[in-house]
């Protein structure tokens, strides 16, 4: 009996491709016996074309009809030996059918024979040559994007072939039930082949039979209704379908049960692979699989004689999958480089050897600065003083206060915690068993880290190691860094360390700088994510810089409009961390500008003017500098850093005067911003140290760090430009060194403000009480002044563990005014008055209502320089009188003097239970913030491919030359 072939062409709104396909079909050396065109187009153009031009039979079906139903309709009542399936975008070579038929005639066991699918535009490139499944059950194209040099022509048996151009034995097709209508479009071909395989038939690819395939479906060129989702989602749905249909039932059900969780894990994987564009597909496919379980179960009912394990040899090897992924990445990178080349962004392609940090002697500098910081060596677990308090005792407690909406201050304070707590969490995570230790080490190493960070930044303008090192050392020893370190201004200190890194990251993400800019999508995403995280950290530490950073970001986007698609995501983590906090301050309290206040314990520093800031004067205004006695060496130490500013000005005379001028404009803007910000007075009266100033100026230290970075980088430009002349370079280098000398001396001098201890902020007995579950509060009463008729007292109601840095809430500072007028604090004031007068009447109820279990009168602060002996004596007398009053109460039992002051225990406490309903480990805010942070962290982590490329350097022409063999 003669074999008959019926060609079934499925057409879907692509008349141009259909015409080519039909042309090819007509020119076959062995023509099919019958050609059936199934048209599911929305319009009539395709059907008209077929009828008029080719006179073939057209079967019109509704446009929503899928591939399986289309083929089934075409074969209805059709008696044929072989079915040749063709898509409207698959044009077979003239001898394609002949080759396919030759193969199946020689091998009767073959039920499905697929052609070698070639690229439509570049027929020398193989688009597909057989399909398989990875170990994880994902459809995998065995050969993709390879040049056809007949190197794969000995391939034969495969797990599956695509339907485009596949010759299928009609009886087997019918026995198998045809294409599965329940399967997603991109799984239908694999499914059919798998069923054929499992039924004992062979599926082969015939390399000699070639079909050009445009792959419109996968390229997303067809209307969405064809795949019913995006191509990527369709591919993922196909994978889900195949796993659920071809896995053993228990495994399939288990897979289904965990499908949403697996979807999230795969989302993480996509982020790690820097493919955020594929997140939607992962979520879509997992939800689709989860909610269409019955469709998958229906598909499982089809008979199979063998298990899927019998096809194990035909599965794709791990090495094949890995090689394929790498090839795709390199292809993308090559395309990106080519596009950059076409755009004229030649600097992105420039490759210049730079010495690495280690090769440049960076470790020596690190050692020198770290040793010079010996006065800040962690002599105890916790460093306290200035704006520094210990962190929570363990990581979990720190996590609870991060992104939380409740603080144990007063009777409980419901408001978003400071975004800065995320920074504290990050630092504390380095030593999770004792988070404070990491903070202490950070304070010690901050100048060292600032050096490393600045070294990277200066690399944007100079490749010379000694230039980078000198400028970076000068930055690390700048007044802003060291002042923040000496005074325990952690936010400013952190900003000083992170700012250069942010500069580097944003430059790489935007394609600025002379070296090391990103090219591949993955690399760009990585830098964007790093920029975003650094921006969030800097913004959380120094909110006053946010407007300036936002302006800078807008400027970057304006200069690099092609990168807007990436850079637009940069502020997202900052917005997530800052959003609830800003909303509370702006809408809840009506103080939007309060969001600019520095987090943590407020400290006041006299603001400087524009000139002093630009000249890097060490905390002295111009008028103060005028008053200096320059016969004294100390006066020169104050003005020496101005030499760096002078060098930075000279950079305007170099070849890079354009960039330097832009940098100077930015520095002037920053100085102006800092001068204005310094004029703002923020409420500083909050929880924490008793010496907190009531009102503090806006802190200029973070601004100064930004200005210093610009000035020292511009100075590096001068140094770089002078390097061609040895004597000039030496002179300029010496000037830069001289400008850093005062900083070195300050570093060696250490700090009078900081001291190191065991991390407790309250007497040990309170800590022990808290650890035993005592939920009472500590009433801290500090006599702060007044006269004989009126005593001024600061009162704080704290948890028994005292105040940790993460609890020094900025929002609380701005809420105190409203709270003091509420119902809670007047009662507390009366209690304090009773205690101060030694009048015990009525204190019992008040103590209970305030949950007070202990009362502490802190030690008198050491006499400040200006404080007279009499005022110190007065303070001691006040404390003594106050202590005597407390002693006289039979509700208070004196527990003696402790290192934190005099302590009393309240006897017979019957506290009202504290409402802790809001004190939860998790909150919606925290969940969202953490999710955003995790997403960006995953995006930021370099993938293996990127690391490999970075390690080898990037050579675009190596990549471009290979395909055409022109190298």
């Amino acid at each position: 009996m003669k074999s008959t072939v019926t060609a079934v062409v499925v057409s879907h709104d692509e008349p141009e491709y259909l015409a080519v396909t039909l042309e090819s079909l007509a020119s076959q050396t062995v023509a099919p016996d019958e050609i059936i065109v199934v048209d599911t187009s929305q319009g009539a153009e395709c059907a008209e074309l077929v009828r008029k031009e080719y006179g073939a039979e057209v079967l019109r079906l509704p446009h929503k009809t899928g591939l399986a139903a289309s083929v089934a309709a075409a074969l209805d009542n059709e008696q044929t030996s072989w079915i040749w399936l063709l898509h409207d975008d698959s044009a077979p070579e003239p001898d394609a059918l002949e080759r396919l038929l030759q193969t199946v005639e020689l091998a009767p066991s073959v039920a499905i024979a697929g052609p070698k699918q070639l690229d439509w535009e570049q027929p020398r490139v193989i688009m597909q040559m057989g399909l398989s499944l990875t170990r994880g059950g994902t459809p995998f194209s065995l050969i993709n994007g390879e040049l056809d040099q007949s190197q794969f022509d000995d391939e034969s048996d495969v797990m599956a072939v695509g339907t485009a151009g596949a010759l299928i034995r009609a009886d087997v097709y019918r026995d198998l039930g045809g294409l599965d209508a329940s399967a997603p479009a991109l799984a239908a071909d694999l499914d059919l082949s798998l069923r054929a395989r499992l039924a004992g038939h062979r599926v082969v690819v015939v390399p000699e039979a070639k079909v050009r395939h445009r792959g419109l479906s996968l390229a997303g060129k067809r209307p969405r209704r064809w795949l019913r989702t995006s191509p990527h989602s369709a591919m993922l749905r196909a994978a889900v379908h195949l796993r659920m249909v071809y896995s053993p039932l228990p495994l399939a059900l288990l897979y289904w049960l965990f499908l949403p969780a697996l979807g999230l894990a795969r989302v993480a994987g996509r982020l790690l692979a820097k493919r955020p564009d594929r997140i939607i597909g992962e979520i879509d496919s997992s939800l689709w699989g989860f909610f269409t379980i019955f469709g998958r179960l229906r598909s499982r009912r089809r008979p199979a004689t063998k298990g899927i394990s019998s096809l194990k040899p035909l599965r794709a090897a791990r090495s094949q999958v890995k090689a394929s992924s790498r090839a795709k990445f390199e292809q993308e990178e090559a395309v990106a480089n080519l596009q950059a080349f076409r755009r004229g962004e030649l600097h992105l392609l420039e490759r210049r050897e730079q010495k690495s940090f280690l090769a440049s002697g960076g470790l020596w500098w690190i050692a020198v600065i770290a040793i010079a910081s010996f006065k800040f060596w962690p002599r105890g677990v916790a460093v306290v003083g200035g704006g520094l308090y210990p962190l929570a005792n363990n990581w979990l407690d720190l996590f609870v206060r991060t992104g939380s909406s409740w603080l144990p201050l007063g009777g409980g304070f419901a408001a978003p915690s400071d975004p800065f707590n995320w920074n504290l969490l990050l630092i504390g995570s380095v030593t999770p068993w004792q988070p404070t230790l990491a903070l202490t080490v950070f304070v010690w190493l901050a100048p060292t880290l600032a050096f490393v960070s600045a070294w990277q930044f200066v690399g944007l303008v100079s490749a010379r190691p000694w230039v980078r090192s000198l400028a970076s050392v000068a930055y690390a020893l700048s007044f802003a860094s060291l002042e923040a370190q000496a005074n325990g201004q952690l936010p400013a200190l952190l900003t000083g360390v992170l700012l250069p890194l942010f500069g580097v990251a944003i430059a790489r993400a935007a394609g600025f700088g002379r070296f090391f800019s990103s090219r591949a999508t993955q690399q760009t995403w990585s830098w964007v994510a790093i920029s975003a995280l650094l921006l969030a950290m800097i913004g959380a530490a120094s909110p006053s810089l946010i407007p300036a950073l936002a302006l800078a970001l807008v400027w970057v986007m304006a200069v690099r409009p092609r990168r807007i698609g990436y850079l637009i995501w940069t502020p997202l983590p900052l917005a997530a961390l800052f959003g609830p906090y800003f909303w509370y301050l702006a809408v809840g309290l009506g103080h939007p500008t309060a969001a600019l206040a520095d987090p943590g314990v407020a400290s006041d520093v006299d603001p400087l003017g524009v000139w002093a800031l630009l000249a890097q004067l060490r905390g002295h205004s111009i008028s103060q500098v005028r008053a200096l006695d320059f016969s004294q060496p100390t006066a020169w130490l104050i003005v020496a850093p101005a030499l760096a500013a002078a060098l930075a000005l000279v950079a305007l005379l170099t070849r890079r005067f354009g960039s330097v001028a832009g940098a100077w404009l930015l520095a002037i803007l920053l100085a102006a911003g800092a001068a204005i910000f310094g004029q703002l007075n923020f409420v500083g009266f909050g929880i924490g140290t008793s010496s907190t100033a009531a009102v503090v100026h806006g802190s200029q230290t973070p601004w100064m760090a930004a200005i210093s970075l610009i000035v020292f980088t511009a100075a590096a430009v001068t140094l770089d430009a002078s390097s061609s002349r040895g004597w000039l370079a030496t002179l300029v280098g010496l000037v830069l060194v001289a400008s850093a000398a005062p900083g070195a001396m300050q570093l060696l001098g250490g700090s009078d403000t900081l001291h190191w201890g065991d991390g407790r902020t309250v007497p040990a007995i309170l800590q022990a009480n808290a650890e035993q579950g005592n939920d009472q509060r500590l009433l801290v009463l500090t006599p702060v002044g007044g006269n004989e008729s009126q005593l001024r007292i600061d009162a704080q109601v704290l948890p028994l563990t005292g105040v940790n840095l993460e609890e020094a809430s900025t929002a609380y500072r701005f809420t105190l005014a409203a709270r003091s007028a509420g119902i809670e604090y007047p009662g507390l004031s009366k209690l304090v008055a009773r205690l101060a007068s030694g009048n015990a009447a009525g204190i019992s109820q008040a103590l209970d209502a305030q949950h007070v279990g202990f009362v502490l009168i802190p030690q008198a602060a050491g006499s400040a320089g200006a404080a007279s002996a009499s005022s110190t004596q007065l303070a001691i007398d006040r404390r003594q009188a106050f202590a005597n009053s407390l002693d006289s109460s039979n509700r208070l039992e004196a527990m003696g003097s402790t290192e934190f002051g005099s302590l009393w225990r309240v006897l017979g406490v019957h506290p009202v239970a504290i409402d802790r309903s809001s004190d939860k480990l998790w909150s919606l805010t925290k969940g969202v913030q953490l999710a955003v942070v995790v997403i960006f962290v995953l995006l930021a982590i370099p993938t293996t491919s990127i690391r490999r490329r970075s390690a080898k350097g990037s050579a675009i022409f190596d990549d471009l030359a290979a395909p055409d063999g022109e190298a």
């Binding site: 305007l652 001028a661 002037i668 009531a694 507390l828 008055a833």
Partner: protein, 461 residues
Amino acid sequence: MLKRILILLTIAALAVATPFVLPRLHAQVGLLPTAQTATSPAAELRLACPGGLYQTGGTSGTSLSKIVHAGAAKIYAIGTSPKKVKTSKFEIITKRQDSAGSVQDSNWMTAMQLQLSATDTLGGLAATSCLQARTDSTLIGGDTTTGHETLLTVVNPGKVDSSVRVIAYGSAGRLGGQDLTDLAVSASTAQVISLNGLIPDAPTFSIRVIANGPGVAAFLQQRTVHGTKAAGLDWIQAAPSDSVSSAVIPGVLVRGAAAAAALKKQSSAYSDIQMVLRVNNRGSKPTKFTAQIFGEGATPFGTVLQGSVAGQSTVDVPISGLKDGDYSAQLTSDVPVTASVLLFRVHGTSAPVVDYSWLQQVPAISTGSIAVASSGISKISFVNPAATSAEVSVRFGATTKTLKIAPGAQSTVQIDQGTRVSFEASVPVAASMVIDVDGTLAVVPLINQGNRSVTTSVTVR
């Protein structure tokens, strides 16, 4: 290059000009919390008196471990219906706040106790103010050399037990180690210990009493025996003021100077009849001090003493050459110190009566009251430590006397027996009442102990 120079000049000009175009804001972000003002009535005023003199050895004088009262002291108190609580060892006087008053001070209630003893072992006049409890008291005086006995009495008038540390500062630092001893003083009880056993043969020391818990009132009972004859007696009360750099000791009323000198010459047993200035420095740094003894009238100058005292130490500086007259001591030092003057009185020649009193440094006050003993002669010595003249109006009985005291000068006024004296001064003055009963001597400082209704301005954080 010209272009670059122009850009440089433009940038420099921009930097120079920027400050001139910046706005002046000085705005405050956020509101400061309003301090909550609350007034609380004065606490119950509670004064503790040590009670009758103590005698070591029990009533028989032979039970070494026993310390018992020898007679009873008479309490002179001012105040409407004060409540007296008499225990076996001491007395507490309390006065509750009434609805009208908001201040409880010496005008409201004050008290002193007086006891004249003339036994073989206890001879002399002993008086002391009844004191409010304090957590830190310094007692300047005492002598445990042969013939001298010092007893420490610690009274806890409160309702909560107290733990007390006793520190002794000798001439060469602390005596008896870091702490001389520790005492547990239960609520409403008193503890009496003999310092002769703890710091034997110590001619110079000061005692510091630190209460860990509710405050206590501390007193030293000092007695002297020459051979078998009692030769002086005194209650040394805790210094009314803390350590200061400028101290005033009023009431140095020297009488019988010639008799004293004769007595010393007559017998070496009376060699201890020597006025001294005792200075205690409880700080850690050594200090120099200068004490001026001012008299009254046209030639006020008495003598000048200079000395130095190491940290954690006590020194005695002899005061010699003073003739009979009314004096006061004014002391200045580099660091805060606490000082007292040992004043002797020798009365009679054939069978001279010897007595003494430790005069404490007294804080300056603007008003004060005290009840006057119903026997003997009582005089109040005022000292004006201020830089301006003081006008002091003294009322006792139906009499009102107005004293004008020049800066740094002193003035003495005799008060009628059994009256209540009160004064008002235009500037704060220091005052002590000197009591002479048949040649015996006691000096009680006028101090304004009390509790105020406290108005607190509380800022809650």
